[in-house]
């Protein structure tokens, strides 16, 4: 089993990469919206992502983040 520090050091770069992809997807959406002049008609997936990101940003200790994200995405 890994120590807390080992978890951070082992998975930081991989998690950084995933977060950058999420940021890029949101930027891509903004660019597309700027080009078309209108937002997407169906925003449920985007709203779900924003709820998921808010949950991830909550520093309250919890080992159920993955489970709760799956519940959010199951509603979409």
């Amino acid at each position: 089993m890994l120590t807390p520090q080992q978890v951070i050091d082992t998975y930081f770069l991989e998690s950084r990469c995933v977060l950058l992809e999420v940021a890029a997807m949101l930027d891509r959406y903004e660019d597309a919206m700027a080009r078309s002049g209108t937002p997407a008609e169906k925003q449920e997936k985007l709203d779900g992502m924003r709820r998921a990101l808010a949950l991830l940003a909550d520093p309250t200790p919890s080992a159920t983040r993955t489970e709760r994200l799956l519940e959010i995405f199951a509603e979409i």
Binding site: L13, C17, E21, A24, D27, R28, D31
Partner: protein, 273 residues
């Protein structure tokens, strides 16, 4: 579709890479000198390495119908050794005359130390004195923004031709400053630590394709030469035409590298029969 791989460390890869690249449209690869994973101690080690990438590696690529070009330089990670750097720089003009050597690279910065900056300036001055192209490495991860700024500051203090300089490994936070200064900018696609294929296409869509290059580097670390083809696929699936893809992944490298007369692969145009 014909593709050029502008930045590829072939000596760290197997012949299977060449075979698969050839089967997926790669017609030429360019191999800059880079870090071996440890700091070399002797100028002779560099000289043999330069022989390997300028004499031997083209024969390996040729077995798969791929043209192989190379660049010579002391890698920024080894530029702290000033004596070594000076001795290798003295040996480099001999290689710049080789028929497939396109210029000086990859020089650049790693930790942006004074010695690294001095070595970068010396490399660029050598290149300009010999009318060579220059390929500049910028640092990774947390050092990237500062290192790219320092690269631009060093170049601003030299007499250079910006159109003959390619600053590599740009990402969202550095691409604008490089393009605004008149240089070519390269995006290096890595599975985790550099730009991703999707983000590279975002940058192409945001800034346009002029003076932008895409490569997948591919070395002995976690890397994948086929992130370049992944980027082609992403570009095409967003609705960009085949000719536009050719402009980015074949013709732009030809335009930059073709400033050296040794590069004899012309831009191509797709015509309907």
């Amino acid at each position: 579709m014909q593709i050029i791989q502008p930045h590829y460390h072939a000596i760290a890869r197997t012949a299977q890479d060449y075979e698969r690249m050839a089967m997926s449209g790669v017609v030429a690869v360019c191999e800059p000198a880079f870090w071996a994973g440890f700091d070399r101690r002797y100028p002779e080690t560099f000289i043999d390495y330069f022989r390997q990438i300028s004499e031997f590696e083209p024969t390996r690529a040729a077995q798969y119908g791929i043209r192989h070009y190379s660049w010579v330089a002391v890698n920024p990670k080894e530029a702290e050794n000033k004596t070594l750097t000076q001795e290798v720089l003295r040996a480099m003009p001999e290689f710049l005359r080789m028929p497939n050597v396109l210029g000086v690279g990859e020089t650049g910065l790693h930790k942006s130390t004074p010695n690294e900056c001095d070595a970068l300036a010396a490399h660029v001055e050598l290149a300009m004195a010999h009318e060579q192209l220059v390929l500049i490495h910028t640092p990774h991860l947390s050092d990237k923004a500062h290192g790219t700024k320092r690269v631009l500051e060093v170049l601003a203090g030299l007499k250079v031709k910006p159109e003959r300089i390619w600053i590599d490994h740009v990402e969202e936070q550095t691409v604008r400053s490089v393009l605004d200064a008149g240089y070519w900018a390269g995006m290096t696609l890595y599975p985790v630590t550099k730009c991703s294929p999707k983000r590279a296409v975002d940058i192409l869509e945001r800034y346009g394709i002029e003076r932008l290059l895409v490569n997948s580097s591919a070395d002995w670390g976690p890397s994948d030469p086929f992130t370049l083809q992944e980027c082609v696929l992403e570009y095409r699936r967003r609705g960009h035409s085949l000719q536009d893809a050719v402009e980015v992944f074949h013709n732009n490298p030809c335009r930059f590298l073709g400033q050296n007369p040794k590069w004899d692969i012309p831009p191509v145009r797709i015509e309907a029969c």
